[in-house]
């Protein structure tokens, strides 16, 4: 039986091959057939989840909430030293130096990644900005947000910090972050669904020792991960509580 694995669509496209390499490694490590299916948008991925087509997922914190609470997924691991943080950036020539200088009618370029959008909207609150007094331009990829800023088609752009940091140097030189989130406790999680839950312990022990052999270390490098660390149920529940607290 083949199990379906997917990755939150907010990952850097430069790591697509890394996820395929990881999938090959994981199949060998736990002796299960796993098919990697990557979706183009959070919406498409959420439909697959709703249709029970996903049994293993590297999920963003927002989706992890529904997966754990509603679909019975259990946490396996997260990447070490990779807290999910968000950045709001402007064109480097923009007169805006901080959030409180933003005004009603601000044009926001954003993907549909719900966790990044939520974190960034919270960071706009000191300026009194919210959904009702801003204009959102939705894009499918972070590079398109950068383009909106470069062409002055948007005043600010919402980025996952990791993705922003991996933009090309030429692009980053033309942008300027005005605020970084400092939450520290929100992470993407590798979650396993009920049909593959019997492999959780095997998977977790394989992942935790992955950095110790050269093959595993190479796979981690292709994902830009240092190592995996275990996540137990209570840690995931805490993060979910936090996301619930922040949700509107």
């Amino acid at each position: 039986m083949t199990h379906n694995f997917t990755v939150s669509p907010d990952f850097n496209p430069g790591h697509i091959s890394g996820w395929y390499i990881f999938n090959t490694w994981l199949q060998r490590a736990i002796n299960e057939e796993i098919h990697l299916e990557l979706y183009n948008s959070a919406k498409e991925q959420r439909k697959a989840i709703a249709d029970d087509q996903v049994e293993l997922i590297y999920a963003n914190p927002y989706d992890a909430t529904a997966l754990v609470r509603d679909k019975g997924f259990i946490p396996v691991a997260r990447a070490d030293n990779k807290a999910d943080e968000a950045i709001i950036a402007v064109n480097h020539e923009s007169p805006i130096l901080n959030v409180e200088q933003l005004t009603d009618g601000t044009r926001i370029s954003s993907t549909d990644d719900p966790d990044v959008r939520m974190m960034c909207m919270i960071m706009l609150e000191p300026a009194g900005l919210n959904k009702s007094n801003t204009i959102t331009i939705q894009r499918d990829a972070y590079i398109l947000i950068a383009k909106d800023l470069l062409k002055n088609d948007a005043d600010i752009g919402f980025f996952l910090e990791e993705t922003y940091n991996e933009l090309s140097d030429i692009t980053k030189k033309q942008l300027r972050p005005i605020v970084h989130s400092q939450i520290h406790v929100i992470h993407h999680l590798l979650l396993v669904g009920p049909k593959l839950a019997h492999k959780k312990n095997d998977m977790q022990s394989s992942l935790l020792s992955m950095a110790d052999d050269s093959k595993g270390a190479g796979v981690l490098k292709s994902l830009n991960f240092e190592r995996w660390v275990a996540v137990e149920q209570e840690e995931a529940e805490f993060m979910i509580d936090l996301m619930d607290t922040l949700a509107e």
Partner: protein, 156 residues
């Protein structure tokens, strides 16, 4: 809980004696010095069922000016500022016990006697159908909202 100590206070201060709902007392020392929550910073804490702090993040430590080991095991009201009327928190416990989200604008007291304003949200942590504790997240808010809250609290 120990009284606040003059040696910890920065600047001129006033005194206020708190009589808490649990029968304990504390002398609080407070100044007019405001510290701004840095943009992007979220203050996160967890308490047990009695409101005793069980976990805090770095932003909580930085803004409260306490060390982590001075916070863990203390009641969350260690941050209560004398300008916050009890009525402002009146429905907090009732709301979260009913498993609803509580939110409000809060002026918190720092160890050094200063203060900071936040927009606070609190939810119950439900595990296997039972409430096991509470999570609170506090974030920066606009000066307009702070002014509105200050004016309202003076009427309570």
């Amino acid at each position: 809980m120990k009284d606040m100590m003059p040696d910890d206070i920065s600047g001129e201060y006033q005194e206020h004696m708190f009589n808490y709902h649990d029968g304990t007392q504390r002398k609080a020392l407070f100044t007019n010095i405001e510290t701004q929550l840095p943009e992007g910073s979220l203050i996160v804490s967890r308490t047990d069922l009695r409101g005793i702090i069980t976990d805090v993040n770095q932003s909580f430590i930085d803004m409260s000016a306490y060390h982590k080991d001075e916070l863990i095991g203390q009641p969350h009201y260690i941050l209560r500022h004398p300008d916050m009327p009890a009525a402002a928190f009146g429905d907090l416990w009732k709301t979260v016990q009913q498993r609803n989200k509580w939110y409000g604008y809060v002026k918190n007291l720092r160890k050094d006697g200063g203060f900071y304003w936040v927009y606070a949200t609190v939810i119950a942590n439900v595990r296997n159908g039972d409430i096991t504790g509470f999570t609170s997240v506090r974030r920066k808010t606009s000066r307009t909202k702070i002014n509105e809250a200050e004016t309202y609290y003076q009427t309570l």
